[in-house]
């Protein structure tokens, strides 16, 4: 069998393969995990204070890895510079990428600075093997007075609010790439950006649940029940929103009487009764929506760790299936000829499972580096309640116990 993503002969092919399935998936995780961090920064939910730094790091690592998917999928990746020098915005949805992504990177760097500045200063003052590193990360500003702390907090609120906007823009523009392609009946829908953003929230929250629990287990710390259960509550809320969006999509896409011929034909032929019916019903709706809701409805399952893990894993699988059903299913509907276009994802080589795993691997390594660099661990904070009070009195860092080279 000839495989569309690999060989590309004949008239119709699937040009956007599994890497482009992964691109909106990763950017959705970026947006979702950023919104989780803003629960503490913007919405002042004290419960999530311990989670916010971790969520910022996860979001930033995935943000750095996200463009690797499109870069690897591009046939002329060396020409990426043309995106900067010949940007075609506001006409081309892809051309928005460079503005939104660079803006988001800049914003995340500011966010990292202000979120970790106080702790960096305390560690730089406290000394230790890495004090120079913390000195650099604090950009030399050693002010720990309450005034500065208050400024940091207010800047962080502003940055996080802007960040939510950027996260929505970043993910919404990807939805717009598909929604604006009128040649593909299953893509050309104004619902697309909204569906993408809602499922981004769902997948980001599920990812943060998994990362939080795994990180706590790894470091042998107790998992905060209020954080884990709170995340699951938000998860269910957004799953219900996602269910609503899927219902609207079904009503406006799958029913011949309500929609245009090619849209309904594609929906019926590919998703409802065709090759991807099992992905649509089994994974996107089953694992991604109904399984988590079912577990949530049984209190005993909801409160167990396995229940939470299955909910999160199901959501992560279901959202990936949703991306597949958008990107691939939209392309296997032929434009000018008959029948569905065949596509098989290769294991190795261009546009393969191997490259996708590589991108996730890069994201993981970047996350490890960031987690090593930034003092996100709540249980290792150098400042105790007494030292904070002392700081507030004197306006300088008071180092408990271990001391160090105070410059």
């Amino acid at each position: 069998m000839l495989h569309g993503t690999l060989i590309e002969s004949g008239l119709e092919n699937v040009y956007w393969g599994i890497l482009i399935v992964t691109y909106p998936y990763i950017s959705g995780l970026v947006a979702g995990s950023f919104v989780v961090s803003s629960l503490s920064h913007v919405f002042r939910q004290k419960v999530y204070d311990a989670l916010a730094p971790l969520a910022v790091l996860v979001s930033f690592a995935l943000l750095l890895a996200a463009p690797l998917t499109v870069l690897a999928d591009s046939r002329q990746p060396i020409n990426f510079w043309e995106l900067l020098s010949r940007g075609h915005w506001p006409y081309s949805p892809i051309a928005f990428f460079i503005l939104i992504w660079l803006g988001y990177i800049a914003l995340m760097l500011c966010e990292l600075y202000f979120a970790f500045r106080a702790e960096n200063v305390r560690r730089a003052v406290a000394g230790g093997p890495r004090w120079r590193l913390y000195q650099v990360l604090a950009l030399g500003n050693r002010d720990l007075s309450p005034k500065t702390a208050d400024r940091d907090r207010r800047v962080l609120v502003l940055l996080s609010s802007l960040g939510i906007l950027m996260a929505f823009l970043f993910h919404g523009y990807i939805g717009f790439i598909f929604g604006s392609t009128k040649a593909r009946p299953l893509w050309a829908s104004p619902l697309m950006p909204v569906m993408f953003i809602v499922s981004a929230m769902v997948s980001g929250i599920a990812l943060m649940w998994v990362v939080y629990v795994l990180a706590m287990r790894y470091f042998g710390r107790p998992v905060d029940r209020s954080i884990a259960d709170g995340l699951l509550r938000y998860l269910v809320l957004f799953i219900l929103l996602d269910l609503y969006m899927d219902a609207v999509d079904f009503l406006t896409g799958a029913i011949p009487a309500y929609t245009q011929g090619p849209v309904a034909a594609g929906f019926q032929r590919i998703l409802l009764s065709g090759p991807y019916a099992w992905i649509y019903f089994g994974l996107q709706l089953g694992a991604g929506i109904f399984l988590p809701l079912l577990i949530w409805l049984v209190p005993r399952w909801r409160k167990s760790w396995a229940g939470g893990a299955i909910m999160s894993a199901g959501v992560l699988v279901g959202v990936y299936a949703m991306r597949w059903n958008v990107v691939i299913a939209g392309q296997i509907q032929s434009k000018i000829s008959q029948d569905l276009v065949a596509v098989t994802v290769p294991w190795f080589g261009f546009d393969s499972v191997q490259t996708v795993l590589g991108v996730f691997g890069v994201a993981f390594v970047v996350f490890l580096a960031l987690a090593w660099l930034f003092p996100w661990k709540a249980w290792e904070q150098t400042a105790t309640e007494e030292s904070r009070a002392a700081e507030a009195r004197s306006g300088t860092a008071q180092i408990p116990a271990q001391g160090g080279t105070v410059s």
Binding site: S9, S92, R154, Q331, S337
Partner: protein
């Protein structure tokens, strides 16, 4: 506890924010003015199509790959140096090009030429000579097509005890009509492929041609997905998007496109749609013409005479395709039909049976 003095820090914060805002707006203005300068340049510095003078000038600097010279195979030529032949293909010294505001294109520029094609479906015999000529003229690699002729059947098999088609399930009588449907890039006046290109590598020339600046292409595939006619493809050799150019290299030297020249039934008629006396204009005036997928608002510039309305809108269920290569060799139907496909791949591998 010291009294908070938010005023001072707020002032510092505001100062920083103002600095950031100024630099962002300065950068935005720079970018914006670049875009505007390009647009203005297109509109104001347009040059008249200098016709014969331009053609003569180009003849004098005739590139070696031009089709009327004796071909030297396996020799380095201008195809291996894109900047040399791109200048000839774009021909931007004579014709401007745009990336958007297509509605303003013709009223503003008033260029003498607006190229278009009329395809008389009644005269097409499905010989595929145009496909071969196109491949030969344009070095189109194996497996992809700039123009192709689908031979399609419309209708159905009717169950009939005395039918000519014998199957395991009984005999059928075909109640069908057979069409040949020559297809190529429609050089739309409102081309979605040009709008979506993130690097402006593809553009619409002021005389109507939609072309690609290959060295600028990043190979993202967006234009290929955005084309409703599937006229674009990835060139497996140069790994960029590629498509029909109306044989721009011939056109700029006063020749007709290769598919038009080679058409034995003279089903393809090419000419200037701005010229009231040209053959396509006369045909469009005298016959009822159809264009493909007009519902998408792309305003295509290839007109069909005698084309069935169902075929014009296309869609998977509009017809049965007779020539399977035109279906695409990677459909499930083709697998069912042949069971075995062997084709050399660009990467050196080989497709085989599963």
């Amino acid at each position: 506890m010291e009294q908070l003095q938010p005023g001072i820090s707020r002032r510092r914060l505001m100062r920083h924010l103002v600095l950031v805002a100024i630099s962002v707006s300065a950068a935005g203005t720079l970018l914006r003015s670049r875009v505007r300068a390009q647009t203005v340049k297109t509109v104001t510095s347009r040059r008249r199509w200098s016709g014969e003078a331009a053609a003569r000038r180009l003849y004098q600097t005739k590139p070696r790959w031009a089709s009327w010279t004796v071909p030297e195979f396996n020799q380095p030529d201008e195809w291996s140096n894109p900047t040399a032949w791109m200048a000839a293909i774009q021909n931007s010294r004579h014709v401007g090009y745009v990336h958007d505001n297509f509605d303003r294109l013709y009223p503003v520029s008033k260029l003498p030429h607006h190229w278009g094609m009329v395809i008389d479906v009644r005269r097409c015999i499905g010989c595929q000579a145009c496909v071969v000529a196109c491949k030969s003229e344009n070095n189109v690699p194996v497996g992809v097509y700039r123009t192709w002729v689908q031979v399609v059947e419309q209708g159905s098999l009717v169950s009939d005890p005395a039918g000519a088609v014998v199957t395991d399930q009984g005999r059928y009588q075909p109640n069908v009509k057979r069409f040949s449907l020559p297809s190529l890039c429609n050089h739309c006046d409102n081309p979605p492929c040009v709008e979506v290109c993130p690097v402006k590598a593809t553009f619409k020339r002021e005389d109507g041609l939609v072309l690609i600046d290959y060295p600028k292409c990043i190979g993202c595939g967006y234009c290929i997905n955005a084309c409703p006619y599937d006229a674009r493809f990835f060139n497996p050799i140069q790994q960029t998007a590629d498509k029909c150019t109306f044989c721009v290299q011939r056109l700029d030297r006063g020749l007709l496109p290769a598919c038009v020249t080679s058409c034995v039934g003279r089903a393809r008629i090419f000419g200037d749609l701005n010229d009231p006396q040209s053959a396509p204009t006369q045909l469009i005036g005298q016959y009822a013409t159809t264009r493909l997928k007009t519902s998408l608002g792309t305003n295509p510039q290839v007109f069909y005479i005698g084309l069935d309305g169902v075929l014009a809108e296309g869609g998977a269920d509009a017809f049965n395709t007779v020539y399977p290569y035109a279906v695409g060799t990677n459909t499930e139907e083709y697998d069912d039909l042949t069971g075995r496909v062997l084709l050399q791949t660009p990467t050196g591998g080989e497709g085989g049976t599963p």
